[in-house]
Amino acid sequence: MSGSKTFDLASVSLRELNRFLHKDLFGTTHVRVEHPDGAHSIAVGMDAPVHVDIAGHAGYYAAGMNKHATVVVHGNAGPGVAENMMSGLVRVKGFASVSAGASARGGLLVIEGDCGLRCGISLKGGDIVVGGSVGSFSMFMAQAGRLVVCGDAGDALGDSLYEAVIYVRGSVKSLGADARFEDMTDADFTAVAGLLAQAGLAHDPREFKRIASARSLYHWNVDAQQEY
């Protein structure tokens, strides 16, 4: 069996949808989810290279812990979209709520609109491209991976960063502890250009600023005790 299958969440339970995605794909390459109506945990725990279209708004944790799959939310996404993603692509055509891409270890998350607080918190290797702006405390304690923000960033951007890197095209309201602006290098311009191309967004990489860790909190010391 191959081809496409449609689940209408107005008449089929979320459990049936996710069970199918986990255990019954048998060659199915495309799944369409109709009437999501903000349901939580749509297409979580995917582990196959299938394309899932969610035809509307999704609730918490859409495409959570995704591996291999491409998931497109044709609407807005609730908290924790693509949290702990390992690989694949998750695209939100509208806005995303808090903690988008939290602790993602791989893959690409594209949010075409704005994104709420803590975007990319605890990021561990995934990439995130936001077409609009991001809220405060984005990339808090992010360890690896990249965030590209085509709009503005809120307060405390990159607080307690490790090795993750942030690129912002617009303004940054404030930086968090241990985050600092750094000069863009040729490698940064290439990286931003590549991520924008993958996201389908047309901006000039030269308009972006780089934010990374000053690495002053990597080792415990008394002078940093209030920020450690």
Binding site: L14, R15, N18, R19, H22, K23, H40, S41, V44, G45, D47, G59, Y60, Y61, G64, M65, K67, P79, G80, E83, N84, M86, S99, A102, S103, R105, R118, I121, S122, K124, G125, F140, M141, Q143, A144, S160, Y162, E163, Y218, H219, W220, V222, Y228
Partner: protein, 450 residues
């Protein structure tokens, strides 16, 4: 002239050491293991065994079940254990890979479960553990949906008894290349574990998070929620409302690999008080028996296990005790043991303790990574001091001993199942313990505060 040696209660040698260390360094102390202060504990309770008013079972022959089932509320595949004693979550990073392997072997041989920890699941522990509980921690270090699928249960960690609300720390000397790679961090940095989860806040969100994990695991695996003991009555209720199959309550005597001493000794409530509050919460919700309760934090002996069960726990979880079974604070380590872990030569290591500024029996230097007996280290040489067969044999023996002690007490109380031990079988030796545990002061029918 006679020298006056009257020690100040308020400024005893411990406080003097603290003030002098703080004034010399400007640093607070970070250390391992758990609270050292004396607090009301299971030692302050005793059993009322059978006599004329109760009928005992024959202590060595009659059957007394220790079987324990966890996760019966929603999971389609609950966990069945041979004994009510589990191995607590401790990270690869704080412990060596050999130790994680040894714990898995011991738990499997004893018919119980072991638990991962901050930093993710190692192949060694998955391979050696028949039943492995996978922790979902705020840091999400190494968190992997493949490991979620390979686990037998998931434990969402909200807090830890040694440091509720405090997050965690793994000092750079233990962040070797393998630990760094698993946690996606630079080698040698002081690694901070967050105190809050990155993708949810509050009990309403937790309910949604639990459902996400249930969907990912196709509702097969039990979901535990672990809390450090503070406002335990309310926390347990909220965990139950959020949909937990099992609630784990960790009292202030619980251990840690590295935490500020001020935190270890001054934050949280004793296990004895916490278990009482947790059981009250389950009974208040009429969920006793539907949601299982695991108690941890200073469980050391079969008597402690029996008392926890009598107070209403379904199982206990042990961390520091199994480390000590492995050799923690021993003055020797074992070389050239037989393949089954028996025999071997005891090699003295008191000098290694001295190099850390401590001695066997007093060591709490897990945070240094220089564990003289090879338990809490990532050093390539030191970790060889604890070989998995030796550790497995010692921990298995410890677990077996405690299981026998629990059933011995249960039989004496006339129970054919250790889970039939009940609060009515206990009395307290002190007013404080009676009040915290909610059992009468021995020789009276007085429960303070009731």
């Amino acid at each position: 002239m006679k020298i006056q040696r009257e020690e100040s209660w308020g400024y005893d040698r411990r406080v003097l050491d603290y003030i002098q260390h703080a004034s010399a360094t400007g640093l607070y102390e970070i250390r391992g293991l758990g609270a050292k202060r004396k607090v009301p504990h299971f030692d302050d309770l005793v059993f009322l065994a059978a006599s004329l008013s109760r009928y005992p079972l024959e202590g060595y022959r009659e059957r007394c079940s220790t079987k324990t089932v966890l996760g019966t509320r929603f999971a389609t595949k609950p966990i069945e254990l041979a004994i009510p004693i589990t191995v607590a979550g401790m990270s690869f990073g704080s412990l060596s890979a050999n130790v994680k392997d040894a714990l898995g072997r011991a738990a499997t041989e004893a018919g119980t479960s072991t638990t991962t920890g901050d930093g993710g699941m190692t192949e060694e522990e998955r391979g050696s553990s028949k039943t492995l509980v996978y922790q979902c921690l705020p840091s999400r270090y190494g968190f992997d949906p493949d490991h979620v699928r390979r686990a037998d249960a998931i434990e969402i960690v909200i807090g830890q008894g040694a440091k509720p609300g405090g997050g965690g720390m793994l000092l750079g000397q233990k962040v070797n290349p393998r630990v760094a790679a698993m946690r996606t961090l630079p080698e040698g940095v002081d690694q901070r574990s967050a105190c809050r989860h990155p993708d949810w806040t509050g009990p309403d969100d937790l309910a949604i998070k639990i459902k996400e994990l249930r969907e990912i695991t196709d509702w097969e695996k039990p979901i535990y929620v672990k809390v450090g003991a503070t406002r335990t009555f309310h926390d347990v209720k909220l965990a139950v409302h959020a949909g937990a199959d099992v609630v784990v309550v960790d009292g202030m005597q619980g251990g840690t690999a590295a935490t500020q001493t001020v935190f270890i000794e001054n934050v949280g409530i004793p296990t004895l008080a916490a278990v009482r509050q947790a059981v009250d919460a389950l009974e208040d919700l009429n969920m006793k028996g539907q949601v299982q309760l695991i108690v941890s934090g200073g469980i050391r002996t079969g008597a402690d296990v029996a008392k926890a069960l009598a107070m209403g726990a379904d199982a206990v979880s042990i961390g520091q005790g199994v480390l000590m079974a492995l050799g923690c604070n021993s003055d020797t380590w074992i070389r050239d043991a037989r393949p089954d872990g028996s025999g071997g030569e005891h090699v003295p290591c008191t000098d290694d303790y001295a190099a850390l500024g401590t001695a066997p029996g007093f060591c709490h230097h897990c945070h240094t990574g220089r564990c003289p007996v090879g338990v809490t280290t990532q050093d390539a040489v030191l970790e060889q001091r604890l070989q998995p067969p030796v550790g497995a044999r010692r921990v298995r023996n410890y677990l077996k001993t405690m299981a026998m002690e629990v059933s011995t007490i249960a039989r004496a109380c006339g129970k054919q199942d250790v889970h039939h031990l009940e609060r009515e079988d206990l009395v307290a030796l002190t007013v404080e313990a009676a009040a915290m545990a909610g059992v009468p002061l021995a020789g009276t029918n007085w429960i303070p505060g009731r």
